[in-house]
C-alpha cells in the first residue's frame, strides 16, 4: 500500500499489537487480545493526522506502539526513514527526542512533587542538553510560548488549573524541538471553553514550529476541525481513511456513517431534523473478534460475504480508502 507522499515523516505498515492473555497458575498464554491488527497509514511532514474510534478500538495502543512504550508484535514503524520496530531502549532514546507525547489526563501526567520548571526541564537533564542559566532560559522561553508567566516555574502542578496543566504537558513535549507530537486525547478531560484554547494553541505552535501531529480523540467534531486527514478505527482495524472534509461529506463505511450521525450537534433545529443512525449493541470483544468484517455484527447492511472474507482497505476515490464489501466491488 503506497501513499501519496514519497517521503512521509511517519509510516506505519501492517502494524500489529497483540496482548497475550495469561490464564491459570501455569501462566500459559492461551489467547491474544488483538488490540491493533494490521493497520497501515502514513503521516506527512507538517500534517495533522487524526485517529478516531470508540474506546477499545486500539487508537491509543497505536500511539504507544509507535513511540515504543509497547513492543511491536508485527509490522513496521518507519520514522524519518528509520525502522523503529526492532530498536532496543538505548537505540530508541535519540528517537524519542524527535517524537514526543501529550497525554489525556493533565492531572496524572505531571509529577506532583516536581516544580513546573523541573517538569518542563527534565528532558533537558535526561539528554544532557543544557544546565544552569541556559536551562532556565530555555524553560522560561517555553513558559512564555504556552502563555504562562516565567514566575510560575517554581510552582507545583496542584497550583494550576486543568487547562494550564495541559499547557505544561505541551511545553514538556516541545522542549526538545521534536518533529512529531503524539496527542493522545489531549483535550478530553478539559472544559469546553478551555478545549478551544488548547486546540488554538496547538495550531499556532504547529504553524510556528512546523510540527507534525498524530491527534487521537473520540470527539469527532474536534478531530475534524484540527486534522488534515482522518483515520477511523473499529476494533483494531482501520476502516476508513480520508481527508477530513471529504470524510465528513462523503463517507462510505457504515460505521463511519453511524459514528458521524451520533455526534450531538449543538443546534436544536439541525439536531431534530437530521437522519440518525443509532447502532445496536456494543463493540464485540477484541479477544474473539467476529470473523470476516469486524463490524458485521452491528452493521445493518451485513451480507453473507461479510462473515466470510475480511474486507481490505481499498481506494474508492483520491486519497480516500474504505474497508467494506459494499464499496469494494
Amino acid at each position: 500500500m503506497n501513499d501519496y507522499n514519497e517521503n512521509p515523516l511517519l509510516e506505519v505498515k501492517n502494524l500489529k499489537k497483540y496482548f497475550p492473555i495469561k490464564k491459570s497458575i501455569l501462566k500459559r498464554k492461551t489467547s491474544y487480545l488483538k488490540a491493533v491488527d494490521d493497520v497501515s497509514f502514513s503521516i506527512e511532514k507538517g500534517e495533522t493526522f487524526g485517529l478516531v474510534g470508540e474506546s477499545g478500538c486500539g487508537k491509543s495502543t497505536i500511539a504507544r506502539t509507535i513511540i515504543r512504550l509497547y513492543n511491536v508484535t508485527g509490522g513496521n514503524v518507519i520514522f524519518d526513514n528509520q525502522h523503529l520496530e526492532n530498536l532496543t531502549d538505548t537505540e530508541m532514546q535519540p528517537i524519542r527526542k524527535k517524537m514526543q507525547m501529550i497525554f489525556q489526563d493533565p492531572y496524572a501526567s505531571l509529577n506532583t512533587r516536581m516544580t513546573v520548571g523541573d517538569i518542563i526541564g527534565e528532558p533537558l537533564d535526561i539528554f544532557k542538553i543544557a544546565y544552569g542559566r541556559d536551562r532556565q532560559n530555555i524553560i522560561n522561553s517555553l513558559l512564555d510560548k504556552i502563555g504562562l508567566s516565567s514566575k510560575y516555574a517554581n510552582r507545583y502542578p496542584h497550583e494550576f488549573s486543568g487547562g494550564q496543566r495541559q499547557r505544561i504537558g505541551i511545553a514538556r513535549a516541545l522542549i526538545l524541538n521534536p518533529q512529531l507530537i503524539i496527542c493522545d486525547e489531549p483535550i478530553s478531560a478539559l472544559d469546553v471553553s478551555i478545549q478551544a484554547q488548547i486546540v488554538n494553541m496547538l495550531q499556532d505552535l504547529q504553524q510556528e514550529l512546523g510540527l507534525t501531529y498524530l491527534f487521537i480523540a473520540h470527539d469527532l467534531s474536534m478531530v475534524k476541525y484540527i486534522s488534515d486527514r482522518i483515520g477511523v478505527m473499529y476494533l483494531g482495524k482501520l476502516i476508513e481513511l480520508a481527508r477530513s472534509q471529504d470524510l465528513y461529506n462523503n463517507h462510505f463505511h457504515p460505521y463511519t456513517k453511524a459514528l458521524l450521525s451520533s455526534i450531538p450537534i449543538a443546534d436544536p433545529e439541525k439536531s431534530k431534523n437530521r437522519n440518525r443512525i443509532i447502532l445496536e449493541g456494543n463493540v464485540p470483544s477484541a479477544i474473539n473478534p467476529p470473523s470476516g468484517c469486524r463490524f458485521r455484527t452491528r452493521c445493518v447492511y451485513s451480507m453473507k460475504v461479510c462473515s466470510e472474507i475480511e474486507p481490505e482497505l481499498k481506494e474508492v476515490s483520491i486519497e480516500h480508502k474504505v474497508a467494506c464489501h459494499l464499496t469494494n466491488k
Binding site: 470508540e54 469546553v192 488554538n200 467534531s221 450521525s261 450531538p264
Partner: protein
C-alpha cells in the same frame, strides 16, 4: 399551563473548608414543569452538580445548604428530615442517575436484586411481584434477554448496559422527577446516542420530568425543552432551548456556543475562545463573576452584581448589557 413539579428558590450552598467558606451556589431560582426536560449547562465548578445533589439532600459535609427553599409536591425539601427523605422522596418521587454507572451500582449484588430492592423499599408488594416488575423495567430500557441479565453482576455488563440498568432502577418506582447528572459523559458516542434516544422515549412514555446536567451542548440541544446556564454558582441565563441556541444574550453563553466546532467550520477559521478561567469561589468577586473574561466588560460589571433582566416571557439573563441605559447595543 402545566404545573411546576419543583421550585427552587434562592438556593445557596457553601462548603466550609479549612481555607474558608467556598460559595459553590450563590442564590439561584428555577423551576421544572411537569413532563419537562430542563438542562443545566456549565463548566466544572459552576455548581451544577451540587445543585442537583442538594435537591435530594445528598450533599455531604462540608457542603451545607445555607439558604433557600426547594418546594416539591407542596413541601419544602430543605426542612425534611433524613428519615422522611429516605422513605418518601429518594428513589420514590425523585430519583437520580449518575455519570459513572460502574461506581453507582453495587458490584457484589446481581442487578436484578438491586432493582428489586429499590422496588421493595418503596412499594408494599411481594418479592415475587417486585422481581417481575424488575424484569419489566429491564425490558423497558431495551436490555436484550432480561431474564438472563437479571442474574448478571454489574461487571458482566458494558458501560452502556450499566447505564440502562441505572435508568431502569431510577424509574422503577415511577418518580415524578429524574435527575440525570452527566448520564452520557463516560460513554462512547454511539452508546451515548443510544442512551439519549432511550431517555427521550422513556420521557414520552412515562411523562417523567427530567433535570439533565451536562457540559455537552450537543446533548442539551437534542433533548431539552428549556436550558439554564450556570457560571460560578450563579444562574447566568435561562430560556427555551431555541432562545439559548439562537438568541443567546449573555456573553458567556455566546462564548460557550462559539467554542464548539461545528462540522462546517474548517481549520482556517480559528475557534473562538473565552480567555482566562472562572474566579475562585472562596472570595467571589463583588461584581459579575464573568467580568474578567467578558469582552464587553463595563465599569459597573466589576462593582455590582447584575440583576435578572427579562428578554421575553421565559428568557432571562443576568447581565448589565441588558440594562435599558447600557451604551453597548448589538
Amino acid at each position: 399551563m402545566t404545573r411546576d413539579i419543583i421550585k427552587v428558590k434562592n438556593l445557596k450552598i457553601s462548603f466550609f473548608t479549612h481555607l474558608g467558606e467556598v460559595q459553590a451556589v450563590r442564590g439561584i431560582n428555577f423551576h421544572i414543569k411537569n413532563g419537562e426536560v430542563l438542562g443545566i449547562v456549565g463548566e466544572s465548578g459552576s455548581g451544577k452538580s451540587v445543585t442537583a445533589l442538594s435537591i435530594l439532600k445528598l450533599l455531604q459535609y462540608p457542603g451545607v445548604i445555607k439558604n433557600g427553599e426547594i418546594v416539591f409536591g407542596g413541601e419544602d425539601l430543605v426542612k425534611k428530615s433524613e428519615n422522611e427523605m429516605n422513605k418518601k422522596i429518594r428513589g420514590n418521587k425523585i430519583s437520580m442517575i449518575f455519570q459513572d454507572p460502574m461506581t453507582s451500582l453495587n458490584p457484589v449484588f446481581k442487578i436484578g436484586d438491586q432493582i428489586t430492592e429499590a422496588i421493595l423499599i418503596h412499594n408494599k408488594i411481594s418479592r415475587k411481584n417486585a422481581r417481575k416488575k424488575a424484569l419489566e423495567m429491564l425490558e423497558l430500557v431495551s436490555i436484550a434477554s432480561p431474564e438472563i441479565r437479571v442474574n448478571n453482576y454489574p461487571h458482566e455488563l458494558s458501560g452502556g448496559m450499566r447505564q440502562r440498568v441505572m435508568i431502569a432502577m431510577a424509574l422503577s418506582c415511577q418518580p415524578d422527577l429524574l435527575i440525570a447528572d452527566e448520564p452520557t459523559t463516560a460513554l462512547d458516542v454511539t452508546i451515548q446516542a443510544q442512551i439519549i434516544l432511550l431517555l427521550k422515549e422513556l420521557q414520552r412514555k412515562t411523562n417523567v420530568s427530567i433535570l439533565l446536567i451536562t457540559h455537552d451542548l450537543g446533548v442539551v440541544a437534542d433533548i431539552c425543552d428549556r436550558i439554564i446556564v450556570m457560571y460560578s454558582g450563579l444562574l447566568m441565563e435561562e430560556g427555551s432551548t431555541r432562545d439559548i441556541f439562537y438568541n443567546p444574550l449573555h456573553p458567556y453563553t455566546k462564548g460557550l456556543l462559539k467554542a464548539v466546532p461545528t462540522p462546517e467550520i474548517s481549520k482556517e477559521n480559528r475557534l473562538l475562545t473565552i480567555p482566562g478561567k472562572p474566579p475562585e469561589l472562596l472570595n467571589p468577586p463583588t461584581g459579575c463573576p464573568f467580568a474578567k473574561r467578558c469582552p464587553y466588560v463595563m465599569n459597573i460589571c466589576t462593582r455590582q452584581l447584575p440583576p435578572k433582566f427579562r428578554e421575553s416571557e421565559h428568557h432571562y439573563t443576568m447581565c448589565w448589557l441588558l440594562h435599558p441605559s447600557c451604551p453597548i447595543k448589538d
